[in-house]
């Protein structure tokens, strides 16, 4: 299973963190620090896999963002790369040509998308369409909520 997913910029600024197991803040910070230094130190044209303690670290760079996934040692590295890629595709579909700023300013959306795709460290849904559909449906619900709220405001 997956242990965590991190998104960070080339400068090492964290853009998203997802922990699939519960961990204390200190442990999280240590991992983030280790990951950013390790991944950023990699030479270009190196392979995308690393060994870190008992975990496999799979990372990939998309434009200015590094996507970094920590998986347990028996996992398939190529599958982990696919997962990263699939997540990028989902973001792309949602934001339309996603860029780092989209994720910075709508960081909660990035989490919601991730939550529909992965859960508890496992792949939840392998079909892109179904993931998109459920995100849309939740967003609709949210908009309903907000419009409802305005109604209350106006007529309550």
């Amino acid at each position: 299973m997956m242990r965590f997913m991190l998104l960070f910029s080339r400068q090492g600024k964290l853009r998203l963190q997802k922990w699939f197991t519960s961990m204390s803040e200190r442990e999280k910070k240590k991992i983030i620090r280790d990951m950013t230094t390790m991944v950023l130190a990699r030479q270009p044209r190196s392979c995308n896999f690393m060994q870190w303690k008992d975990l496999k670290i799979v990372y990939k760079r998309y434009a200015s963002l590094y996507f970094c996934l920590g998986v347990e040692s028996q996992e398939n590295e190529l599958l982990a790369l696919e997962i990263i890629h699939r997540y990028v595709e989902l973001l792309d579909k949602y934001f339309g040509n996603v860029c780092e700023l989209d994720i910075i300013f709508n960081f909660e959306k990035a989490y919601f998308i991730l939550d529909e795709f992965l859960m508890g460290g496992e792949i939840q849904e392998t079909s892109k369409q179904i993931v998109n559909r459920s995100i849309e449906a939740s967003d609709m619900l949210q908009e309903d909520d907000i419009s409802e709220w305005y109604e209350v405001e106006l007529f309550g």
Partner: protein
């Protein structure tokens, strides 16, 4: 009411939302911390308001700040408030914040149980979904226990969206609350056949995870998964299923068989690399069972992996190497044939790929390629930029060379020079490792000592180059080894005075204490040797000068801060002063001084301690002091970051533990001192000094940075050895070819015209010089230790592993003469293409060698067996380097059981001549299955002669065979030992025997039989026993010995080679050598003394021999003659 709401909304208009916060942070790059602290103040205000929208906004901002690393745990309760909002928008934010910020120790979690339960049963599926997602991140054992039932109900929810989330979270629940697994499992199993593919894949994921932890329980699901695998087209799911099978196959070999076909189909058909890789991994995991189908699929895997490694995609290269290393464990040979490719990977830009390739190399070395591989690694060491990678290379080189008792090293001079070259690495942490290797080799390989001592003396002479920047340098550890070797084996030193001078230089005082101590002690040993040398001279001033030098230089060490150094130095100083006094009175002291360090250091087998009887009344388990209090053991074991088991460190780092322990004690002491009103606390500065004091490395030393790699003059370059070795082997090969040709001509001129010796095989390589690896199980009690330093060294040295007798034979060179008849015989007996022959030879890289004529016989037997045992053929493994046609070699199958026999006396160490033990001989037999079939129920039987009997277990008849305690899968070899009782050892013996076994194929099994002969030479009853010249002289004078002599003509080799050969093949040791004359000694297991006087003049060698048993002597001489007539 309306006003209030309007007021709230107006408030909100002035609030920052998340976007404003992010923008603000980006605009305040200089004073980010300050800006954020004002934001946090605002957020605190917002959280105090009643309006849930405001609160949700605040929580959302907090979640962002949490990601930036700010502590938001104070807002945990507000997060719970937002979670419990009835509106989905806020609930979503609340759960997101909780999943990011909560962990097991967050105390408000227990307030959430009811809220979550409510959300789980919400009519809105997205409410439920959001609750499940959040829960998956922060579920605690309590929550798992309380909500397990609700979640289990959700697994049968009408909406697939909820079902799949419920299935996935169930895994987390199982982890936190294992009792839930049993009741929930049937439902989980049902979900494997859920109509919704998403739910199905979720169930596969969960069961795959469960099965990885405890595969046994999930074997019963195999048929179901098999069905899923053959029907599913979703690669994501397929990968998981195949991974699951990977966990199950080791438990159920039949499953492995069944899987071969679908897996091979997938490997052939899929275009998805991830799926291909998973299939290959699972096939490799199932390789423990050895059916024919597996061999095919295994071949396919190796092929595919080669393609992966050759790919330009770095990822595939990396994974290919990773998978190769798994194959290496089970099928080393098939990986070895890809050596070229793996060596190429060492040049890769990517460090992780290089490290993987290094791992592989470890398992791939053989006698043949060791030098080449290490040479390549040495080049990389020079190039390596980062110290971590270089250190990794260094340890790998040493690991590779020293594995299985230096099994692959044919030339120890080369190895010593490699070690010396490695000392030039600046800033490595592994000085200690190099040092221990130097010590180990110098002690165990007697023949190398002269060379080693010369090298070490040069090292000591150039010590300034190593210690230049000692502070960050662990390399000075090698000086420890150098000093010790020079001292202990000082008789081999060319210029002992110079070395002594080097060891007493003032600069030595900057070395770490433990190294100085060794310096001082070994200076004393050296001094003793020098005295001995110099006293023979008429001029006594030289000796006195040496004493004076000691007296001048030692006071420096007497002042040392290190107690050990101080103590040794002052003791030795007084001793030298006394010696000087005697010298001035012209008293001869050398003999007495060297008596201080007399005796040879012998390696001690790890089991030796066990043989020391425990004195009566000594209870080793009893506590000497009171056991430490409970509190001491509490704080050990730091918790792993993840709950997983921690990977075991192969090399326990004692120092680290000690440091931790020290720090802990220091802490405890401080605590105690702080609480003690009578204790005057040290000022902070002195505290610091105290903490830093223990490291000698803090002594300020000017660092000299040398950018140019250091070339120490006079040190050898290992490359030369590679070249020399190459030449030597070439010469050997040429000679062999010449002889082969001759033989062939004699036999039949028409046959095997193109019979080339093919690729050089493992057994063709003979060690360059005779290396006497100490193999005896050492004397139980009273080991000779030259002095207390040596004793200390005993502790520091790596545990000396007793080399088993079989290994012993592996190390022995195979004389050129032995192989030739075999080859030609083979060529004449069964015509084969040369490539195939080469392959057959290659297939047995570990074929043990033992110098005696009996092997020839054995080989002949092989041949006979070749013809006798014909089995149904299966596809062969591809011949090395013939990748392309690997699947086409449909040649005749052979069952060749290599069956090499070496009778060797057991208890070689028992030199007391115990007749009881002296009548026993242990025969190690290596059984190698060269066929493609499985061999089992092997039974070994020998026709006893009057003199020699196979020892059988009590109760069995005199003609019963002994069951060989193992079975042999194809390509596997194993060793069994049989004990023989021998009455008289004066004559060589031949025993006839048979081996019966069952050959098992996939569809049939046959009973087969092999006949063989065991040949016990007289030599094999001899034990290498050192003998001092005075004892030797006494023995000769005693007149109890009968003499005999033999002349060898046309021996064309240097005298020391000749001696080495006798030592090696006939277990003699040289007592004394003067020019072209040497005396040698050996002893039989029954205590017969055998003394030789070997003289050479031109090409004639005369051997005069004496022994108390003339028949034995005659036979031994015959055997020696035979050895030399063959070369």
């Amino acid at each position: 009411m309306a006003l209030k709401i309007v007021k709230g909304s107006i408030d909100r208009m002035f609030d920052k939302n998340l976007q404003d916060l992010v923008r603000g942070i980006r605009n305040h790059k200089e004073d980010e911390a300050k800006y954020i602290s004002t934001c946090i103040d605002e957020i605190k205000q917002e959280l105090k308001q009643d309006n849930i929208a405001v609160k949700a906004n605040a929580v959302c901002k907090l979640t962002y700040l949490q990601m930036l690393g700010y502590d938001v745990s104070w807002a945990a309760f507000n997060i719970v408030e937002v979670m419990s909002s009835s509106k989905f928008t806020y609930k979503r934010i609340g759960y997101l914040a909780a999943s990011q910020c909560f962990h097991e120790n967050t105390d408000v979690i227990m307030l959430t149980t009811n809220q979550i339960r409510k959300d789980l049963s919400s009519p809105n599926q997205y409410d439920t979904g959001v609750a499940l997602t959040g829960l998956s991140c922060f579920v605690t054992p309590d929550l798992a226990r309380d909500l397990a039932n609700d979640i289990m109900t959700l697994m049968s929810h009408t909406k697939p969206y909820i079902r799949k989330k419920a299935v996935l979270i169930m895994y987390k629940v199982f982890l936190k609350y294992p009792e839930s697994l049993r009741p929930a499992f049937p439902r989980l199993k049902e979900k494997l056949e859920d109509p919704d593919p998403g739910v199905q894949s979720a169930a596969v994921n969960v069961i795959c995870e469960l099965a990885r932890r405890n595969p046994k329980n999930y074997l019963s699901l195999a048929p179901l998964f098999f069905k899923l695998m053959t029907s599913s087209t979703n690669n994501w799911v397929l990968i998981k299923i195949i991974k699951l099978f990977g966990a199950l196959t080791p438990l159920e070999p039949r499953l492995g068989k069944k899987l071969i076909e679908p897996l091979t189909n997938l490997i052939h058909s899929t275009s998805a690399m991830s799926l291909l890789y998973e299939c290959v991994n699972t096939v490799i995991a199932g390789q423990y069972s050895c059916s024919v189908g597996h061999i095919k699929s295994h071949l396919l895997c190796v092929q595919k992996l080669r393609i992966l490694i050759e790919d330009s995609d770095q990822n595939l290269k990396y994974l290919g190497l990773l998978a190769m290393s798994k194959i290496l464990k089970t099928h080393p040979k098939s990986v070895q044939s890809h050596k070229d490719l793996i060596l190429q990977c060492l040049d890769d830009k990517d460090e992780s790929i290089r490290l993987r390739a290094l791992d592989l190399l470890y398992g791939m070395v053989s006698k043949k390629n060791l030098m080449e591989i290490v040479k390549k690694l040495m080049i990389h060491v020079d190039k390596a930029e980062g110290t971590t990678y270089r250190d990794e290379l260094l340890t790998k080189i040493i690991d590779i060379c020293s594995q299985s008792n230096y099994q692959y090293i044919t030339n120890f001079e080369w190895y010593i020079s490699i070690l010396v070259e490695l000392t030039r690495l600046e800033g490595t942490r592994h000085g200690h490792l190099i040092a221990s290797q130097m010590l180990d080799v110098a002690i165990r390989v007697k023949a190398i000592r002269v060379f080693a001592v010369a090298q070490m003396a040069t090292l000591l002479d150039n010590a300034h180059l190593l210690t230049g920047n000692m502070q960050r340098n662990g390399i000075c550890e090698v000086l420890y080894a150098a000093a010790w070797i020079c001292g202990e084996f000082s008789e081999h030193l060319e210029n002992p005075v110079q070395t002594l001078e080097a060891m007493l230089r003032p600069k030595v005082a900057t070395l770490p204490g433990h190294i100085q101590a060794v310096y001082v002690q070994n200076a004393a040993k050296l001094f003793a040797t020098i005295l001995k040398n110099q006293e023979g001279n008429t001029d006594s001033t030289a000796a006195q000068e040496t004493s004076q030098m000691m007296i001048d230089r030692l006071p420096l060490f007497v002042q040392s801060a290190n107690l050990e150094v101080q103590e040794r130095a002052s003791c030795i100083l007084q001793l030298v002063k006394y010696i000087q006094k005697l010298q001035q009175k012209d008293v001869e002291v050398a003999e007495e001084v060297s008596a201080l360090f007399a005796g040879e250091l012998n390696p001690v087998a790890p089991k030796a301690q066990k043989k020391v009887p425990v004195p009566e009344g000594l209870d080793l388990d009893a506590w000497i002091n009171e056991p430490p209090s409970e509190s001491e053991s509490e704080d050990e074991q730091p918790k792993a970051i993840f709950t997983k088991e921690e990977p075991k460190h192969s090399r326990p780092r004692h120092t680290e533990v000690d440091e931790k322990e020290l720090a802990r004690r220091r802490e405890a002491r401080k605590q105690e001192q702080a609480n003690n009103p009578f204790y005057i606390k040290a000022s902070p500065s002195s505290q610091k000094v105290y903490q830093e004091a223990p490291g000698v490395e803090h002594i300020p030393v000017v660092q000299i940075d040398l950018s140019v790699p250091l070339k120490v003059p006079g040190l050898p370059m290992s490359d030369q050895y590679v070249k020399l070795e190459e030449e030597r082997r070439q010469k050997e090969r040429a000679e062999k070819k010449k002889k082969e040709k001759k033989k062939r001509k004699e036999k039949r001129s028409g046959r095997g015209k193109k019979h080339d010796s093919g690729p050089e095989s493992e057994e063709d390589i003979t060690p360059a010089h005779v290396v006497d690896i100490v193999t005896e199980e050492m004397p139980e009690v009273g080991m000779h230790l030259s002095d207390d330093v040596a004793q200390e060294d005993q502790n520091h040295l790596p545990v000396r592993v007793k080399i088993c007798i079989c290994m012993f034979c592996l190390c022995r060179p195979l004389a050129d003469s032995e192989k030739l008849p075999v080859r030609s015989h083979r060529a004449a007996g069964a015509p084969k293409s040369s490539a195939e022959d080469g392959e057959a030879e290659n297939a047995t890289p570990q074929e043990p060698k033992k110098k005696s004529s009996k092997e020839k016989r054995d080989k002949k037997k092989d041949k006979e067996r070749d013809r006798k045992v014909r089995l149904r053929c299966w596809k062969h493994f591809p011949p090395s380097g013939h990748k392309s046609d690997s699947r086409s070699t449909q040649s005749e199958g052979r069952t060749v059981v290599t069956f090499l026999v070496f009778p060797l006396p057991r208890k070689v160490c028992d030199i007391q001549g115990n007749l009881q033990d002296g009548s026993q001989v242990v025969v190690s037999v290596i059984f190698e299955n060269k066929s493609d079939s499985f061999l089992k129920s092997m039974e070994f039987n020998v026709l006893d002669s009057l003199n020699s009997k196979l020892q059988r277990p009590e109760g069995s008849g005199p003609h019963d065979g002994l069951t060989v305690p193992f079975q042999l899968p194809p390509g596997v070899s194993n060793e069994a030992r049989f004990v023989f009782t021998v009455q008289s050892i004066v004559m060589p013996q031949k025993l006839k025997g048979t081996l019966t076994f069952i050959v098992k194929n996939e569809d049939s099994s046959t009973h087969e039989k092999l006949d063989f002969k065991l040949h016990f030479t007289c030599t094999s009853y001899l034990i290498t026993t050192p003998c001092y010249s005075d004892a030797f002289a006494k023995l000769l004078e005693s007149g109890d010995l009968k003499s005999s002599s033999v002349r060898l003509e046309g021996v064309n080799m240097p005298f020391h080679h000749l001696l080495a050969r006798i030592c090696f093949h006939h277990h003699f040791s040289v007592v004394e050598r003067i020019d072209s004359c040497a005396s040698m000694y050996s002893r039989s297991i029954q205590g017969h003394h055998v003394c030789l006087l070997v003289k050479t003049s031109g090409q004639t060698v005369s051997i005069d021999a004496k022994c108390d048993e003339p028949t034995l002597l005659g036979n031994v001489l015959d055997e020696i003659k035979q050895t030399f007539s063959q070369c």
